[in-house]
Symmetry: C2
Subunit: 239 residues, 2 copies
């Protein structure tokens, strides 16, 4: 399979490259225990993540100016804690700030480092994430993700799936949209990228949302490339 | 020598990490010969580069909105050709566009790849250049520069030495200015960074402007670190 003319592969990160749910649960577990909560840390991770799209929607709709995801996560954290029965009012701000940085310590899926390292030989590889630059750099340094650049919402000043997020990313790379391939485990992300003229590559992450995941279990459209994971993506692009 | 608390090293690129003059002369030589010019390619490189600061000054002064350096280079190219006796009006636009990409094929100084690779083990390393993202990515891919992220004027939407270029770079990394060290072969760049609260590291590139260079031959202030080159910088920061 080939995607002729493609020079850069840009990646969704949360769920596609890193396993945010397991990582946030691991980071939150000692915090919850320390504050007397018996909540399942994975349930807390889901509660925090559930506030992600609504918070970005206020920015996408123009109801507030662009702010980086670290800021939205910090705002959402207090609501998420309340949902699992922890009152954030009694917790020092700097302790909440430290927990907020859990999003900077997400573990990669097992194939991510090897897959990206192989793909980097032939393509520019960069995140096109809604995460901010500092968060992406911290994740990459800790995990060993070999990005050529850190692109995405903060560079584009627009959150996916707004067209500007995809189009400005191609533009800063000096490429036409059709020379860029969006790689994601989420059909919605790929549909938005495709509408902007980008090429598309899908691979499923069937446990991103835990063992009972019902969404994004398979490709819902005829994307340019459909692979099993990042290592398989490299194999398919080589063929 | 230590710069305690520093987490990221950000680098000037033109002259500090790459040898733009020799590289542009090499790229321009066949172009000039093809168009019947007997001009010294290094003189042409100097003519092109001489228009760099005035072009950015129009953006810095607010006389025009931010445009990336590729655009300024392309504008300046035609004047630089006229200066060496080549009429750009008779040359197809796409041939001029290809020559403009010479700035994407700059060679690193001999110590750059090894020095950055070593420094990357302990610090975030990123360009803080007036070059644009696509240019920096192309240079890095070709030369093997192992940046953790590509920062600088296009991310900050401001050209050095404006304070915003330094301060927004620290901000997107989630760091205080004093946790970032500006590394450059140019005293003026370091003075501007220091005024913003960044730490500073200097090493001379005494042939950046050719064999008769008279500027930036040595540190003109007591910068936090003064080294011989990037490998020596790593040694000094380790001590």
């Amino acid at each position: 399979m080939s995607i002729s003319g493609v020079k850069a592969l840009v990646f969704d990160v949360f769920g596609t490259v890193v396993d945010w749910r397991t990582s946030i649960a691991r980071e939150a577990a000692p915090f919850l225990a320390r504050h007397g909560s018996a909540a399942d840390p994975a349930v807390f991770a889901d509660a925090w993540r559930a506030r992600y799209q609504p918070a970005m929607e206020a920015v996408r709709a123009g109801a507030r100016p662009f702010v980086r995801l670290d800021v939205l996560h910090r705002e959402n954290l207090e609501d998420a804690l309340r949902e699992v029965g922890v009152d954030p009012a009694g917790i020092p701000g700097d302790e909440l700030d430290r927990l907020n940085l859990a999003w900077h310590r997400l573990d990669p899926w097992p194939d991510a480092v090897e897959g990206l390292t192989r793909l980097k030989r032939r393509f520019v590889v960069a995140p096109l994430s809604n995460g901010n630059i500092g968060m992406m750099v911290d994740i990459a340094k800790r995990a060993g993700l070999p990005w050529d650049a850190v692109l995405g919402a903060e560079v584009a000043q627009a959150y996916k799936p707004l067209p500007e997020a995809y189009l400005r990313t191609a533009e800063v790379l000096g490429l036409e949209p059709g020379e860029v391939c969006m790689c994601a485990a989420h059909n919605e992300d790929l549909a938005a990228a495709q509408a902007c003229g980008l090429r598309t590559a899908f691979f499923a992450r069937p446990t991103e949302h835990g063992p009972d995941q019902t969404t994004d279990l398979h490709a819902e459209q005829d994307w340019d490339v459909i692979a099993d994971d990042l290592i398989d993506l490299d194999r398919r692009l080589d063929a």
